[in-house]
Subunit: 121 residues, 2 copies
């Protein structure tokens, strides 16, 4: 049984939470592929710092201009944000000069549920 949700605005290569808690049963190969891709997006230290910078932004969103203090160049920041977006962890919106990124709360909650088996469905 799958509890995957269809999010209409996501792009085709985007990964969304799909899978039962890891403590429920052995994941299928397909479930493991999808879930591993999300963990992979958070497995780089710089990318993880950038993700936490967006996730903790007071306004709920951040642009490259807001999070340039993690010790890497602007283009590198953009590259990592793009990877996080491709993994379905961030959504983005262009407004004027800048692209603004925000966390997909449902994705974070889904990953948390995967690990702990707790939380809203």
């Amino acid at each position: 049984m799958s509890n995957r949700r269809t999010l209409p605005e996501l792009e085709p290569d985007v990964v969304v939470p799909c899978c039962p808690p890891l403590t429920e049963r052995t994941l299928t190969a397909a479930e493991a592929e999808r879930t591993a891709a999300m963990f992979k997006a958070l497995s780089d230290p710089v990318r993880l710092r950038l993700f936490s910078a967006v996730a903790s932004a007071p306004s709920g969103e951040a642009c490259v201009c807001d999070i340039s203090d993690v010790g890497v160049s602007g283009p590198t920041v953009s590259h990592h944000l793009k990877k996080l977006k491709e993994a379905g962890l961030l959504a983005s919106e262009r407004r004027g000069t800048w692209v603004y990124y925000r966390v997909e709360p449902s994705v974070l909650a889904g990953m948390g549920r995967l690990l702990t088996g707790a939380g809203p469905a």
Copy 2:
């Protein structure tokens, strides 16, 4: 402020949950290194399937002999279980012929809390 716990039986290279929820503030470089290593351990599909096999074992633990049905060889299973142990996600105990693995619940809960900001401390 760190809420890292010291788990006396873990090996020196083991990673334990250390860090505030990702929605609280930008992780420091050191926090990101530690946390990314845990996500990296779960970023391989085969390793993730094996982890879910151990995590969902009815008795709470599993040996290589129990989880040989994920389509990879016994030595490959052992290699991945070793990686998960090094990342602090599994504990192990040798009994007779076999090494038995079990999930570290506190580590899973810590990772879940990191993602959702919820759950017991």
